[in-house]
Symmetry: C2
Subunit: 570 residues, 2 copies
């Protein structure tokens, strides 16, 4: 009956007209889709971001789920139509099938604390965001003998750490954590994020995935593709419930093409389980800091770091931090100065003096029994202390509140915190963007990249805040662009700054390892060797696995064939 | 004119009628194809394996190029129609285009010393084999500061080692080598082969690829996709000649999906350049051997190895070798016994006594300055020597000719040799097949896998010869099935043995990491979680990148859509 149907429709509209519809989707289709989603996941697990809602950022501990908490455009520029919280793997599979049926794009995230890189927002407004971590948050296994864990998307670094603590397992195995502990172990690894112990390259340390493909199929990679008939059976268990092969978390490659990498920084699948290697408790540990007094000590330090890191004398992923990163952890800009313009050398010297730190500060740790540690430490000390004025500190040497060294002494042994979140408040209404180019570990390169980024920061009227995160043979130079999210001018400056830096760096042959939604097209376009051959390859694979382009369209600059790329890129 | 055309055809037939034509290709089409290939690569770089040829195996130093030197079927079972040696990257691209045009399958190899896994033979008879290493064999770069090399397919471990020696670079960087030095660095890495220094996982240690896709497109992966405008220009240089980004060999992941893995054990592309990390000279080195007297010391040793390896006290990829592997290096079976049946415990004890070795022999090395080495060695000694009767040897303790420890003291510091080739001659007309399942590093698992493989070897009337190669958290158990290639019965037994072992091991949840052409289908089929979901994914990608299925059809069990899989699998 028409009137009844219309009434239904009206009540729906009232309940759920979203602020943004998926592209090309009518309100009616959207609502039919949402009805089907509700049948799948339950109404309590579906929330429409409706026309009447106010977009509230929340804060790190309680982040918003449909837009970017640190938006650099308006909050509704990257905005979900709805947030859906699937309760298990079959629901994720069903959601992929529904998205295909209705041609509605979906943007999966695990926790949504991806600040500086887009937070929980989708690239295409009107996408449905899939909040995987809300319900799928079990630590499925911690295996001490094999030193690994198997986790679901919602397991944060804090969660796994607490699990280890509760079960008294840290005497056997340590976790690797990024600066903040609230992120998802899966979310961070699939974005190829980094931490600071010897296991800092999270992607390298993953082992085995379970993935829902855009067509809804469920795949286990590596040895996970091999059933183990000796494991007590699993009569009637769904595939995702079946116990994994005993080597699934021990050996990554399996047999045939090694596919795992294509599921990172990608729109080819939803990772629903991941193995991660834990570091065997090294039987001894010592964190330290070395302060370097002068701006141009950067170059000398880098040329000391390179050989030591490659030799594994520097066993962990150490960082060389600019004074303002540490200063910002201790207090906002206003606590140091009344200036609004960027600080100059004299200001920085004064701050360094006040905090008893260097212009650059190096944080590392040694691992192992005492005799090993002392050999390593003596090499490290001798090498760095050749820089005039440099000083060596142990955590117990520092007595200031919120000592960065004391925080890092935890981080570098895998104990998570949120202490470093404080630097985001350098400016009022502090928000941030990460600019993160890859560089050779060398004095000349570090100096050149620092000069360029610092110059542009100054032109933008912003302070340079940054750190060099030292991998095996390269550095992730992480420039923390802090802005005032309530001040449109500040946002514009930050946005101008990062766009300019991407171009500047491309001219030097430097590219970024990861980026914010707003920069994905620009950066993808710098990786354009041989007429964009890599992008063509990426698009071919994308179109084959997701012909309707429903999973994370636009992610990392990859646009499915149904999207007119020219009109979508920004 | 018909008669002239016919004459042409006849002269061609005489010159070049191949023993096997590509499937579905007429002789006429094949000859037109070969004409076009000759126009591309020059007649001197094309050889037809003609009806009149005798298939000669050659030997390791001079291997045959169109069939398997260690064939387990008849020599012509896996046989190329022709071998083509492209001279450069554009020729490889052109060959891909020609193969597409004529729908002729191509099987690329770098050197063709892949014995035990199929040698230089193609999976589909009649394929053209592309001998990449013949001309494309330059060491393009050895960078000491970044500790890496950039190589072409034809660069063998010997070649790069000699390059390091000639340029006096071993004081700065070491290579990692497998047991034999004659393989291709690229060919070995893309098959995910292993060596024995701390850099033994060759695929993990690769950094950056240049690849020709099946459609002839040229891609650089990782940072290689980012041009570097600061490098002195390259006016008019072809894409493959352009200097790479300075971070190409420093950082693997680049931006967006990390694609490299899909080009391993795969039929998705031809690798024409690869970066490989070299190990900084550790500043000290000591190889050693620990002999274990009894068969069942295996379990105890494994449970000692696991924690030491995970802690990196065992820094390298060590091996625990069965007595017969070492014995076979010292001499053929006939030099020990007149028996033809498998040796029993008493025989093995006698051989061990004669060689002054254990039933199992553990080979490792420590790296670094003296104080580090001595701490590590003392832990290693104390741990292993808890096994009654075990003994510790340094290379200088061994005085026999062809001492395995002395060879391994070279291998474990990256100095290549062919010494270990000798075990292949355990039987007359010695040939071999590798059976290589992945196992957990544990006494119970090693014991179980050893029992099963040994039992089946005995049933086949063959001796168990094997070694456990210890990775980070798993072992590659390499069973060396030696047979007499001129004795059809011996071949049949070897073939029966490996097929049976694949099934046996699958029943225990054990799968192989790599295999011979003849076993690819069977093994791929064991990785069948969730109704073969991984294979479906592999096929989707294969069909997208290679719609005509011209590149290495059937490799690792992946059949392109144009092939009727049911009729092709063996
Ligand atoms: C002060 C500060 C310090 C920081 N320090 C670090 C640091 O040291 N190292 C570091 O790496 N980062 C750092 N970050 C950035 C960020 O907080 C972390 O990377 C965080 O882990 C990312 O958020 P998340 O884990 O909630 O990921 P999510 O937001 O859940 O996911 C991020 C993205 O990954 C993809 N994704 C997530 N889950 C899945 C899935 N299951 N399947 C498929 N795709 C998926 C999606 O594209 C998603 O948008 C820092 C941020 C701040 C504010
Ligand atoms: C006594 C003995 C000991 C051995 N010990 C070891 C060992 O310690 N470790 C080990 O790993 N192996 C070992 N092997 C096996 C083998 O010798 C090596 O793996 C060898 O490196 C493989 O041969 P190759 O390098 O010539 O590869 P190739 O024959 O050139 O290539 C092998 C396969 O890889 C693929 N491929 C090669 N090049 C390319 C390319 N450029 N693009 C795309 N695909 C390509 C093709 O499928 C090809 O068939 C041993 C063999 C013997 C006989």
């Amino acid at each position: 009956m028409a009137p009844a149907a219309e009434k239904d429709l009206i009540s729906h509209v009232q309940l759920s007209e979203p602020m943004k519809l998926p592209p090309g989707t009518s309100l009616h289709t959207f609502q039919t889709f949402i009805d089907r989603v509700i049948q799948c996941c339950g109404a309590e697990n579906v929330s429409i971001i409706s026309k009447c809602d106010k977009l509230v950022d929340g804060h790190y501990m309680n982040p918003c789920k449909g837009h970017d908490m640190h938006a650099i455009y308006d909050r509704d520029y990257f905005l979900a139509s709805a947030v859906i919280c699937p309760r298990d793997v079959p629901e994720v599979q069903m959601l992929m099938r529904l998205c295909n049926e209705f041609e509605v794009p979906a943007w999966p995230f695990s926790i949504g604390r991806n600040t500086g890189y887009g937070g929980a927002a989708p690239r295409v407004s009107g996408s449905v965001c899939l909040d995987l971590g809300r319900h799928m948050n079990r630590v499925l296994d911690v295996n001490v003998e094999g030193a690994f864990a198997l986790v679901e998307p919602g397991v944060t670094f804090f969660d796994l750490h607490e699990y280890l603590e509760e079960h008294d397992l840290r005497k056997h195995v340590w976790l690797d954590v990024p600066d903040l502990g609230g992120g998802s172990i899966i979310g961070n690894a699939v974005e190829r994020g980094v931490g600071y112990t010897p296991y800092g390259d999270h992607w390298m340390m993953h082992c085995g995935l379970e993935i829902v493909l855009p067509n809804g199929e469920l795949v286990r990679t590596g040895m996970g593709a091999l059933p183990d008939p000796t494991i007590p059976a699993a009569e009637g268990l769904r595939p995702d419930q079946q116990p994994g092969n005993r080597c699934w978390q021990l050996f990554n490659y399996g047999f045939g093409p090694y596919n795992d990498g294509i599921f990172t920084q990608s729109s080819l699948g939803i990772v629903v389980k991941m193995g991660i290697w834990l570091m065997p408790n090294p039987g001894g540990y010592q964190a330290y800091m070395i302060t370097l007094p002068r701006d141009n000590d950067l170059a000398a330090a880098m040329d000391i770091i390179r050989p030591l890191r490659m030799q594994m004398v520097l066993q962990n992923v150490p960082t060389l931090r600019h004074i303002l990163l540490d200063a910002a952890v201790h207090g906002p800009k206003s606590s140091y100065t009344a200036k609004s313009e960027p600080l100059d050398d004299a200001d920085l010297d004064e701050i360094a003096k006040k905090l008893d730190l260097g212009r650059w500060n190096f944080y590392g740790a040694v691992y192992g029994p005492e005799p090993i540690r002392s050999v390593l430490l003596s090499v490290i000390k001798t090498s760095f202390l050749s820089i005039p004025g440099s000083r060596f500190f142990l955590p117990e040497d520092r007595h200031e509140p919120n000592s960065v060294l004391r925080t890092r002494a935890n981080t570098l042994q895998g104990i998570p915190s949120v202490d470093e979140l404080k630097w985001v408040d350098w400016l009022p209404n502090g928000a941030h963007l990460f600019f993160s180019p890859i560089t050779k570990i060398s004095g000349a390169d570090a100096e050149a990249q620092y000069a360029i980024t610092k110059k542009r920061c100054t032109e933008a009227g912003l302070d340079f805040i940054g750190t060099f995160v030292v991998g095996m043979r390269e550095m992730h130079h992480i420039v923390c662009i802090v802005f005032d999210r309530e001040d449109p001018k500040s946002r514009t400056k930050a946005h101008w700054l990062i766009r300019t830096l991407v171009d500047d760096c491309a001219k030097h042959g430097w590219g970024e390892y990861r980026t914010h939604l707003a920069l994905m097209d620009q950066i993808a376009n710098t990786y354009n060797f041989n007429d964009g051959a890599q992008m063509k390859l990426n698009e071919q694979i994308k179109n084959a696995l997701d012909p309707k382009g429903i999973l994370a369209p636009g992610k990392n600059g990859i646009w499915p064939k149904g999207y007119n790329k020219a009109t979508w890129v920004i």
